[in-house]
Subunit: 758 residues, 2 copies
């Protein structure tokens, strides 16, 4: 755990440069706009430790799977998020001396992510080895108004010398991924151009043949006066630069404005890439840096208007929640149904892929409440479009007749993860994808979704579960063997309660969905049945038989549901019995020891209670929570938020607050010692849930909103806005109670502590 | 499955060249002498497909572990068997045209491994692209008389041309492993020398700093007349060559005799390497090729005298068993207790390491019966010498107080395998290592071994099991969770019967061993207890409690022991129900499907019956065999031999013969489609067991030998020799019965079908 980041309600502030934390700061202060993103690398050359990262949404490389021992069924590739063209680069020479902060004496340094207005700022004064003192001020942002545009204001002020200040703004696509297998490069050159005031580089990914065209243009000012440009240009494969210089004297502020346009073949015909890029770039350049920054500020204000959570009386908690919301918003905008929410977003390359079950289980509620309905809908449609791939994925594992198994990790619908206990066995992900359909409709009331897209997905998933269970002759019940639940600290177990439960729920929901479409549009139903060759009688009868005869592991004595068949045979010790030096277990214990222990990474019985709250009474909630919470080590970033919500529901305020703290500042304080790789984007949505569903106690039932709020001790108040079925509500909880205002003309039923208030 | 190898009782014959099977033939016809070995690569340059392999016992490289997803506890390196200096190389130019069989038109070709006399022979006639016809005759062997020496007779006869025949005998250590991660080389140059008639290359392994010095010398003959040499020499890093030539005309036979001496720092001080190598080389050269070959023939005759099995009436079966015995003998001689039996011996680089539980479970009985007692003893001492490493290995997994977990795969005592379900969970290997001590003493009567070496190993192993079980409060019994049995088609299971059973047997045997040493030499016992800080009262009381309260999974209804807790909940189908196209499962089914199925790679309950035959009555044998055999797919090379032995014991002749066929020609007929990687050396010993313990029904009880023979239908007779407590017995089984002769002066009690005969 580190806590060098200053507490501030709206900004992430690194005061004083810490080279050894540079990668962490680069992750924390990443900027993006849902279409591309950029780690907080320095613009100028830096010879110190850094993870260079510039990412373009949807552009990936299928790198060869690397395993020690191949298992049949492993996917052939691992889809990598690609480090793409460096568009921020501006090399600097101060009177002939190349600027490299790693070789400077730094007098003052501040790196600030301004979340309110959506930009990254760096100011510093330093002295070169040659003794030149200077000030550097840079501001940059990825526009959320025009998501092709990035802009940089980069200022140098000599403080004790006069001489030539040379800038080399460049575009460099000759870049690598740190996680490549053999240090190979994934980009091939297509075209480079450089002229007096602009340059373009187009490159193409190997194998996948995505093209990305990046353009830059720039202006040079001295003390506010625009300078004539006389660029020396250089271009080579995958690279273009322009060198400009100006004479400056002591205290002259020399400013390079660099504009970039980034466009990929995801969004533009390859033949038109260059032209589209050039025209976007021209438009941005003509608008100019300050107007672009002003519109950025307004657009972020609108975002915050929709999704902010205000916490009074606890600035660390305030900063934490805004940090989470900010990164969620710049990772995924919901405008492109082909995109999804990568585990590291645009902040790192680790974990590859872009889509985990995190999207459905953790991210969907955030977008449902804080963005236009189409955003959440696009997250569902994304999976609909991958249905055929999910069917093929299931076929690779021996399933048939249209059974669909969605991948554990994917970028294009194909599986790209390669641990057998996860890839083949952590199949509960299928349940979360079905639940998301239910959850979306419950929240939005958009029942038409079932007929349009939902039913086909539900039928594919139901078919999978119906084949994945088998009948135990001994038990005379259906069982499910060889699974890994959300608790990844048990692998290859039999009858994971959560997986069994959600599987049966999927069968029931699919049956309901069939009836719903039948009652609304029987011809649509028949068309779907024909398309997927659905033998309703035979298939649904089997489903009903499975529903009737499913086995669920329970412990009668304790009155709890069991993680899995063998759980009570484990040695039962508690997290409180663990020596501090043994934690985190995943860094201190060998894997087998973790698996044998009763310690839980993420309590999946409780995940089931979170999803299916109304299926169980409060006493059962309490018994299961009190059994599992003391055994849970929360070494999944997705774990604490669910515990926070359940603890809040059960009135356990301290526990709820403890869990909230674990989730909200996970990256800011680098709890897991891995922020340098990038941020835990998907778990950030869980932090939002911990406030709104946990402390706010928000639930949706029968088209109405219910709140059962709880105000944590240290907070003066907390408030948030949500969208619900066209209405925009603000909710404020303070010591006097809960106030809810409807800022729209649309009436929606709202209850506070079970009393109707609107 | 392939069957291009001709059936012959004493030879492995490839008639006609099959380039696409070249790697297979290279494996099958490998030669070795326990100290070094060589695949059947061509001496001259060959541009076609080949796996070059020259291996020196005990010389390895710790290559970086390669996994997709790192788990805590994985070993940092994978010990690789190293491709070492090529000592066979002889490049040839026929009147200026470089010889490369891949570019020749081959008229006749024969590659023969002569197992009786221990040499590899290749004869061929071919025509070059330039139209030159020639004959090539080569013979080579690795001397088992002086295990530093290799010798080659390499003859070229022009058939339609006259001109210069140029030979370039060379030594080349600039070689690679195919299984290197990044195509890096593992050898660094130390010294090269080349002069008129000899050359030397010394190289050192990176990291491990083994040195290997290889020397060569040669003579050139034309039509039986020795030629004066006038070599052109060349040396560079890791390489040395001598170029010699002679004018030849049509039908002149030109012969290059090449002698090699190979010596590593395993057996010689580094400073003396070159000198020792040179003197060995000189000695061999002076002796000359024919005398060396003659003494090789005699030495192999002596080996066969000890270990041959003669099968009359079935040449395929005869060839199969001799092939297995031959390779066992040239892989491991038992003369160096630091060596062991690699899974591929000197025939390939796959699987790395050198020691698996195969050694104790499968190889030991072969060496016990066919070699001097010290050979088997050295196999045990090998593990004794690794005891401290096994304790460290256990510590890495969280065990303490001297608990020892021997590695799954090792070359120096450290674990070097990296699949969590194997490395951390396939812990039954510890049981096999203890059983080998018992088995060795049972066979040899060498009780002193317990006090000298055995007890410390047994105590370390017992301590491991005592920590690895835990008490189930629910069951009120001890259980063992998270293991993988010999049946690797189930992973991470609870209460694998075989593992539970052998664990408890280890505890009991350790208790017995303590008492034995106490009664024989109490001061030795106390010295051991002091050395390992053994608290007898506390520790043995815990062991006794575990022995008393261990849980064993059984199925009362079927009267069988269960693979593991959940086995009867699996869908129960039989191998005979499997479509042919689904097999082998490990190439056709995804891993999870295999794990969920009831199909068994290698039946570990039956392995337990094999080890502990006398603990169970015959009805129990039968019930368990009849339950497990039909569920076993034998996709482990170690599986069929145990089934053959049990089937023979149960009088199931057809099943026993079917199982024997599967094991004996596994590599010759390339059943598993992987002979190109090298031979399954360790399973070869199982083939020997299938004949001697299966059809011969040989057992040892209370110092006596028992035979219950069965003659398979197609066989006229079978006979074998065994050593037993100083006596040498020949056993012959034919249609008239069983004849046993004692060729020694030492009387040993022998029973045939329970009747005393000697």
């Amino acid at each position: 755990m580190k806590n060098y980041i200053q507490h501030d309600p709206w900004c992430i502030i690194e005061e004083g440069f810490r080279p050894k934390y540079n990668r962490i700061s680069e992750s924390l202060c990443s900027i993006g706009n849902g279409r591309f993103g950029q780690r907080a690398n320095f613009e100028e050359f830096y010879s110190g430790d850094t993870l260079q990262g510039s990412y373009v949404a949807g552009v990936y490389y299928p790198d060869k799977t690397r395993v020690g021992w191949w298992k049949n069924g492993y996917p052939e590739y691992f889809a990598k998020v690609l480090n793409s063209t460096n568009w921020i680069g501006i090399n600097v020479e101060l009177d002939g001396e190349k600027l490299d902060l790693a070789r400077c004496e730094i007098e003052q340094f501040q790196r600030v992510l301004n979340m309110k207005e959506g930009f990254l700022q760096r100011t510093l004064t330093a002295k070169t080895t040659g003794g030149k003192r200077f000030r550097l001020d840079s501001i940059r942002f990825c526009s959320i108004v025009d998501d092709k545009i990035g802009a940089i204001r980069y200022a140098i002020t000599p403080l004790n010398f006069s001489g030539k200040i040379q800038f080399t703004p460049y575009l460099d696509a000759d870049v690598e991924n740190e996680d490549s297998n053999y240090e190979e490069k994934f980009w091939i050159p297509i075209e480079e151009k450089a002229n007096n005031q602009s340059a373009f580089v187009t490159v193409e990914t190997k194998k996948t043949a995505f093209q990305v065209c990046t353009g830059m243009s720039f202006d040079l000012f001295k003390n506010g006066e625009k300078q004539d440009l006389n660029s020396n240009t250089l271009q080579r494969d995958k690279y273009a630069e322009c060198v400009v210089e100006v004479n400056a004297k002591d205290e002259d502020e020399v400013v390079l404005y660099k504009y970039a346009a980034i466009i990929s073949s995801m969004n533009c015909e390859k033949d038109d890439l260059m032209q589209t890029c050039a025209s976007s770039l021209k438009q941005a350049h003509e608008k100019g840096f300050d107007p672009l920054k002003e519109e950025q500020k307004k657009a972020w204000a609108a975002k915050w208007e929709e999704s902010d959570i205000v916490i009074e009386g606890d600035v660390a908690a305030q900063q934490g929640i805004r940090f989470n919301i900010y990164h969620m918003n710049q990772t995924y905008t919901g405008e492109d149904e082909r995109l999804n929410i990568g585990p590291k977003g645009f902040t790192g390359e680790k974990y590859g892929g872009s889509t985990y079950w995190d999207t459905e289980a953790y991210c969907l509620p955030f977008y449902l409440s804080t963005a236009d309905q189409k955003v959440a809908r696009n997250l569902l449609v994304y999976r609909y479009k991958h249905l055929q791939k999910a069917i093929e994925n299931a076929e690779k594992l021996g399933f048939k007749d249209g059974a669909a198994l969605y991948p554990m990790v994917t970028i294009n619908g194909e599986e790209c993860h390669n641990e057998w206990e996860i890839t083949f066995e952590e199949i509960h992900r299928n349940g979360a994808i079905a639940f998301a359909i239910y959850n979306y409709i419950r929240y939005t009331g958009d029942k038409a979704y079932i007929g349009e897209y939902g039913l086909e997905v539900l039928l594919g998933i139901a078919r999978f579960w119906a084949q994945r269970v088998h009948f135990s002759a001994r038990k005379q019940q259906y069982v499910m063997h060889g699974v890994t639940g959300p608790n990844e600290y048990e692998n290859n177990v039999n009858n994971n309660w959560y997986t069994n439960y959600i599987a049966i729920w999927c069968l029931k929901y699919a049956l309901e969905a069939i009836q719903q479409v039948r009652s609304e549009d029987e011809s649509r139903l028949n068309a779907i049945f024909d398309k997927i060759k659905f033998y309703e009688h035979t298939e649904t009868n089997r489903w009903k038989d499975i529903i009737d005869k499913m086995f669920y592991p329970v412990d009668e004595e304790l009155g709890i549901f069991l993680q899995q068949d063998g759980f009570m045979d484990k040695e039962q010790i508690l997290v409180s019995d663990l020596p501090e030096e043994d934690r985190p277990l995943n860094q201190k214990w060998s894997w087998d020891r973790i698996l044998r222990s009763c310690f839980i990474k993420q309590a999946d019985v409780l995940q089931g209670f979170y999803f299916f709250e109304d299926h169980f009474d409060e006493a059962s909630h309490r018994r299961n929570f009190e059994f599992y919470e003391p055994r849970t080590v929360h070494e999944s970033s997705l774990s604490p938020c669910v515990h926070a919500i359940l603890a809040a529901k059960l009135g356990m305020e301290e526990k709820a607050y403890e869990m909230y703290l674990r989730t909200s500042r996970l990256d800011l304080d680098d709890y897991n010692n891995d922020t340098e790789d990038g941020l835990h984007i998907t778990s950030m949505a869980g932090t939002w849930m911990a406030v709104v569903q946990g402390f706010g106690g928000m639930r949706v039932k029968d088209g109405a909103l219910y709140f059962n709020p709880m105000l944590p001790k240290g907070w003066t108040s907390f408030s948030f806005r949500i969208r619900f079925r066209g209405a925009i509500l603000s909710v404020k909880v303070d010591k006097n109670g809960t106030t809810i205002d409807n800022h729209s003309d649309i009436q929606v039923p709202v209850y506070i502590n079970e009393e109707s208030i609107l």
